[in-house]
Amino acid sequence: MAEYKLQTPLSDEDVSKLKAGDIVYLTGTLYTARDAAHKRLVELILNGEPLPFDLEGAVIYYVGPTPPKPGEVIGSAGPTTSYRMDSYAPILIEHGLKGMIGKGKRNQDVKEACKKYKAVYFGAVGGAGALLAKRIKDAKVIAYPELGPEAVREIVVEDFPVVVVNDTYGNDLYEEGRKLWAKQ
């Protein structure tokens, strides 16, 4: 288990050195999107239309934050369950997406896309929304404001703590961790 500090956008070289179980502190810009936004992003790609942000090297954070109180940058902002984005993620990865942050298992298609196009899936600690929000320094809605918590936001993070769950070599932290500790 290694520890890295990485700056976004991520390069092939950045993600290739990561292994499942590594701890990574991300600094730079992330984009937030959940199911509804993913559906729209994929439609844009299929129609050959431009996306609201540059996918090349981008990291998407699966989160639907609570509304910020006056004076706050963002409300509580922990990860949501990632499998709901599984049907959309491979095409985004094919078009340059290098990282996804969420919680929970991914399907085989996403894992294959991570291997083929060099991308990683990071896990953040679910239910740690107040703690993770402290690492978010700026946030603005850049697309689909009508989706409310599900709008696409550009957020700036500093040392945002994540763990590599699926790396570019087909390893899966959830499977490995469970095998290590299962008692039957």
Partner: protein, 287 residues
């Protein structure tokens, strides 16, 4: 007949919602600390430490513990000698929910299940809540509230077993549900199990079982032992905190049966499993 003002109920519910979504309950706090002591995996220990730190930050900044501030769930016992003045009890619960979520800067997470459009403008901010009413003796209104997140709800399941499958069948079903859910439901978890009643009521009981404070024994000694047996079996799965591998996957198993008599139909054995993530936000108020 005791009279209670509509506005008092609204305010009590509003305040309870805001407090319980920003302050980790005492029982959960204690359970997470104990899990941290017992956990052997370094990765899972680190997760548990983050969760305790998160609870500190949330309380200090009065910020929601988790961004999924859930559906508002209520179990309400209404005494036969109490009357609400100035509106109905149901209206008061709706209004208290709306105000709690909107004024507390909590998330509006209700949507049309077909179009997926948020209901905050059409129905109201995070409305409607889910309410179970029960009629009891006395002049009090007892309200149990939970903010139930979607992630752990998505890993919950219900079935109807054959009576011959008995306790072994129940254990196997619970094990299957928790194993399949794995990291998705934000472990360490509390597992609510409803056994008996009818197909639908087993699910209701599995949800209500989550309201019992962790560490409070089941009043039925046989079920208390069964809860501990199931918990031990589940912790052998090795899922760990946030599914990263470890020994502390399940903080408690709570079983509820239909009373009186642990009733179910002679032909059936309904079983429901409702999973509660570590961000268990529940509260109890008596008015």
């Amino acid at each position: 007949m005791r009279r209670v003002a509509y506005e008092d109920i609204v305010k009590a519910i509003r305040d309870t919602i805001i407090y319980s979504t920003t302050h980790l309950s005492e029982d959960m706090h204690k359970a997470l600390k104990e899990a941290l002591e017992k956990e052997e995996s370094i990765v899972s220990k680190a997760v548990l430490e983050q969760l305790l730190e998160n609870a500190e930050i949330a309380a200090k900044e009065e910020k929601p513990l988790c961004q999924d501030t859930g559906l508002a769930i209520f179990f309400v016992k209404v005494g036969s000698d109490v009357q609400v003045e100035g509106g109905t009890l149901k209206e008061a619960i709706y209004e208290g929910t709306r105000r709690g979520y909107e004024e507390g800067y909590l998330r509006a997470s209700t949507c049309d299940c077909f179009t997926r459009a948020n209901l905050k403008d059409k129905v109201g901010y995070n409305l409607p809540p889910i309410i179970y009413f029960d009629l009891v003796e006395g002049d009090k209104i007892e309200i149990e509230f939970a903010a139930k997140g979607g992630g752990s709800e998505n890993g919950s399941r219900a079935t109807v077993l054959a009576p011959a499958q008995g306790k072994e069948g129940i254990l196997n079903f619970v094990k299957q549900v928790v194993s399949d859910a794995g990291p998705n439901v934000c472990p360490p978890i509390v597992v609510g199990v409803g056994v008996g009643g009818s197909f639908d009521y087993a699910a209701v009981m599995s949800k209500h079982a989550l309201f019992r404070d962790i560490g409070t024994p089941n009043p039925d000694p046989e079920l208390d032992a069964f809860e501990k047996e199931i918990q031990e079996e589940l912790n052998k799965l090795g899922i760990g905190a946030m599914g990263m591998g470890g020994t502390q996957t399940v903080l408690a198993v709570h079983i509820e049966t239909y009373q009186p008599g642990r009733m179910c139909h002679i032909a059936s054995l309904p079983v429901a499993v409702n999973i509660q993530c570590h961000s268990s936000r529940h509260a109890h108020i008596t008015i």
